[in-house]
Amino acid sequence: MSVTFPQFMPWMTTPDQMQEHWMGFSRKMAHLPKAMEVARRVRVGATPSAAVYRLDKLRLLRYVTDVEPQHSTPLLVVFALVNRPYILDLRPGKSVVSHFVNRGFDTYNLDWGVPSDGDRFLGMEDYVEGYLDSVVDQVRSRTECDKINVLGYCMGGSMSAMYAALHPEKIKNLILMAAPVDWSNREYLLAKWTDASVFDVDKLMQVYGNAPAELLQGSFQLLKPVSTLVEKYFTFYENLEDEKFLEDFFAMETWLNDNIPVAGEMFRQFVKYCMQQNLLIQGKLRIGERIVDLRKIVCPVLNLTATQDHLVPPELSLPFNDAVGSTDRKSINFPAGHIGLAVGTKANRELWPSVCDWLAERD
């Protein structure tokens, strides 16, 4: 039995394959102007929205829809301070918000705005007890509901948890999405980098004022350098002829590069008291004059985590369910990454419809 050349040494490229690769490369290069056109016309945000309230730099967006309201309790989405909130409504088919809007929930999204140098002294109390409280009150008064549903993503989830503990009387259901609350696991990469022995957050804030967007973006990229700085571009090259892929790719890149700084004092307090000292889960975190006691959260809780999350691994979020006083609590550990939880095809097909069901049952 004869063994042919490529079977014997499969890693070697045959002349036919070389020609095929060259043709493929030429086709992709010919498609490059089309890709640039897609990049130019890419739009983010799938669901129409209107700003219904402003306070300093924040805007409260309400999603506009023709769908008849089917639920009495409105939903407020609270995003992190480190990026823009439109990741939750990135594109048609990749929009968390559209699931709720299409199911008849009156949905609001909190856009914190971009802090300037003058906002460097805004701390946790300003954000949680000031801004978030004002926005919750605004939604309550607009919809004439005593209690509202809150969905917090990432750092916005941690802030939502703090708020729910301080104002349980205003929250009907709480959904956390990849929200860190327990930083006791010091093996997690970001915990190692932000350890007090390595990272002097006081000095950083003293020198820079706000946490620079570039520093945050660079740190997040460095968590998975091969994937974010190399592999991604190979995937891009391979799919250069796929217009749908390009639209999603450029929409995601737009969001990833649309970084904003975080107000200095808020960043300092979050890193120091939450990430370094882990006070939140221990019930020792103080906001203003009050202690944040998670046991005071008695509303139904849904805790969503992503198995492949490198930014907020599930072990940072899951202890939340044991720390709250609620009896109706559930967690879903979904096979996705940190961003995939919001924009992943599988998450949009399987996870979010079930989250809508969960919320509808508790309306």
Partner: protein, 156 residues
């Protein structure tokens, strides 16, 4: 392929050698994993993926290492020291030209914020007094809810 075992006494201790041996063994075995019919089409992709996986794994190991954390700390300390000197130089240069620097606007902001706190505390106290007066007139219990920490925004 098995993962590198740091406790294996037979393994080399040099990080680059470990990376290289692991990488090469993964890459060489990757094309043979599935059936022979798929080999030609997928061999390159699987080899490349194996390369990326090995690279990512060793990057992760490096990013957790004491050596990297030490470099991270030293580079941040140096960058912050440089930025601080730059800030001080800029402040001095601006002051020499009788212009305000960032430290001056910061001072104003601090004054404004403490003034805001004092005004809000005063309003809170007045609000409680008004509540108490109203309740004494109407006979109802005073609303214990405290005032807002920050002023209300603008409904659109």
């Amino acid at each position: 392929m098995g993962q590198y075992d740091a406790n294996d006494s037979g393994a080399t201790s040099d990080p680059f050698s470990r990376f290289w041996v692991d990488l090469m063994s993964k890459m060489s075995s990757a094309p043979f994993a599935p059936s022979a019919s798929q080999m030609q089409d997928d061999a390159m992709k699987r080899t490349r993926q194996a390369f990326f996986d090995a690279w990512a794994q060793h990057c992760d190991e490096f990013l957790r290492s004491d050596a990297f954390l030490d470099v991270l700390k030293k580079s941040m300390d140096s960058a912050l020291a440089f930025k601080q000197e730059l800030n001080e130089f800029m402040t001095k240069a601006l002051h020499d030209q009788q212009m305000p620097a960032r430290s001056d606007t910061d001072s104003i902001l601090v004054v404004l914020r403490s003034m805001e706190d004092r005004v809000l505390e005063r309003i809170d106290r007045l609000s409680h007094r008004v509540d108490a007066l109203e309740s004494s007139v109407s006979g109802a219990s005073p609303d214990a809810a405290s005032g807002k920490r920050r002023p209300k925004g603008v409904p659109q």
